[in-house]
Amino acid sequence: MAAESAQQFARLEAQAQVVMSVFTKAGHESVAPAVIQPAGVFLDCIGESLRARTYVFTDPDGAELCLRPDLTVPACRLHIARQSDPATPAKYCYNGPAFRFQPQGADAAHPREFRQAGIERFGDKEAERAEAETIALIVKALSAAGLQDWTLQTGDLGLFRAVLNAVQIPKRWQKRLSDAFWRPDAFRAELKRLTTAPGAAAKALPADLIAGLKPHDIAASALAVQAYLERNKIEIIGTRTLEEMAEHLIEVAADMLATPLDAKSAALIESYVAVRGPAKTAGVEIGRLLAGTKGGTGAALDAYDRRLALLANAGVPLDRVSFSAEFGRSLEYYTGLVFEVLAPALGAQSPVAGGGRYDGLMRAAGANADVPAVGGAIHTERLLAALDGGRS
């Protein structure tokens, strides 16, 4: 990999300085989060798929630590350590190594040790402006480093939630579909379950248990669950509470009475997931899909259009921007916009930069509430390879 040869390292550092100066001129403070991080925070936020690719180890005191697999979570932790109120607005930038185990074996395009130069923007309530400026700044830094030929791929989980809202399916189904959205197979299975037999799981529950549940009274339902367990001499162990059990059982039981999701709504959800193309026409297409629904197009599509206009104003040529509803499915902490910058020399499997919105991450990293957060990072070794015409 590039950083392992002295000459390449010098080139990487020279390139990083160009990139970092673009970031600092735009008001991002340069910071250096710790390379070694407590494993728990990471593993609780990122799920088992990235954990399997994270170098985790135990130090001589028995503490579980890891080499950071990216710099976004470390930047969140740094912000929390510096600010008594994590919602305090801040703009950071960084340049440093990240580490990922490559199960298929490390190679030049997928090194186990690589460098990221990136930006994070916390606490900014003007969502679309912050997003457009973040993308524009990443693109500006790539251009300053010499990259001329690139395209921008975007996705938006906010739009997906808006679609679910527009077809007005129950909140509990919206949550389930949003959660399954990350995994295409699970998503299709859940959609099929909702359109055919949403009550299948509830039918397996004992009738005397279901009878005791009161849909709008969790405390009373919890007592009913407790009584059921006592009657059947089942001991309660572990971390789940009676209240959360009761709340979930109420949702499961509600499915028993629910009419299946109608074919028209299911078809609309599937049509949305299939939308892909130039960002401008994709917006029009989504607007047409949502126009006839009970919920209407809503604020999410307005936000989408506003962000595109802001991107154009910031100098990003919109003819290079595409949108795919399915895009961003593999990265679990994003909550809204997701983007990647692709260089034709490297192909779609090796984006030179990427990022998005992750409003839930600060809370997962230790803050007491969600904090608006958007950021992006450049894979500097790939950028160098792209500038060399794809050789690495």
Binding site: G47, S49, R176, V225, E235, G238, T239, T241, E332
Partner: protein, 231 residues
């Protein structure tokens, strides 16, 4: 190489049952030198060196090819490598050392009977506790492969090297992946096995390494051992 190394479990029931079964097939294994040593031989098969090795190390030795043949549980083999069917040959199931690798959750989780239910329950769990449910296991690789195959990703593994069944009641994990024979220990610890939670029905196997150094002479010795075992 002119000698064949056969790795046999170095202690416990697995060693006893292996020795008994070999003897019943006319392969009398005895220790060479000190009784507490770790080397042995088979009467009538002078080309064979017997190495007494711990069961999990037998899987690793077969994987690397440092022994030609060995006896160990399929669970340990599958945990040690993802490409067991390429690296090894499963010559014979031996009919002892039975153990099922299973997913078990607290019995009072009335809302969870399958892996799909587990996924449905882990969403509200994450909302309440701010983290994924933890799975205690020493079978990290088997667990990851099984859940990946089921499309379940909302969990976090915590490594557990002993008394895994106790981790749910002690609060260090929400569910476990562990071995069981009768399920009695799981029940005693307030746990139940998921309906589709039997990952692997394991038993002791006679195995050969494909990556060890084989010669026509050693192939013949292996054929002799296998034909005796199949008699």
């Amino acid at each position: 190489m002119t000698r064949l190394t056969l790795a046999i479990p170095s202690k416990g029931r697995l060693m006893e049952q292996t020795t008994e079964m070999f003897a019943a097939k006319g392969l009398v294994v005895s220790k060479v030198g000190h009784a507490r040593g770790y080397r042995g031989e088979i009467a009538g098969l002078p080309q064979v060196d017997v190495a007494y090795v711990s069961s999990s190390e037998i899987a690793a030795a077969l994987k690397s090819g440092s022994v030609h043949m060995g006896i160990t549980g399929e669970d340990l083999v599958r945990e040690s490598m993802s490409d067991a069917d390429q690296r090894l040959q499963f010559l014979k199931k031996l009919g002892f050392g039975f153990a099922d690798v299973v997913v078990a959750v607290p019995a009072w989780w009335i809302d969870v009977a399958t892996v799909a239910d587990l996924e449905a329950a882990s969403l509200p769990f994450r909302r309440v506790h701010g983290r994924y449910p933890r799975v205690a296991t020493k079978y990290m690789n088997i667990t990851r492969r099984f859940f990946a195959c089921k499309g379940f990703g909302d969990y976090r593994i915590v490594e557990s090297l002993g008394a895994t069944e106790g981790t749910c009641s002690s609060g260090t994990a929400e569910l476990i992946v562990d071995i069981t024979t009768t399920g009695e220990t799981l029940r005693a610890n307030g746990l139940k096995i998921l309906d589709d939670g039997i990952i692997l029905k394991s038993e002791a196997n006679l195995l050969a390494s494909n990556v060890a150094a084989w010669t026509p002479r050693l192939d013949a010795v292996r054929a002799e051992i296998l034909s005796r075992m199949q008699s």
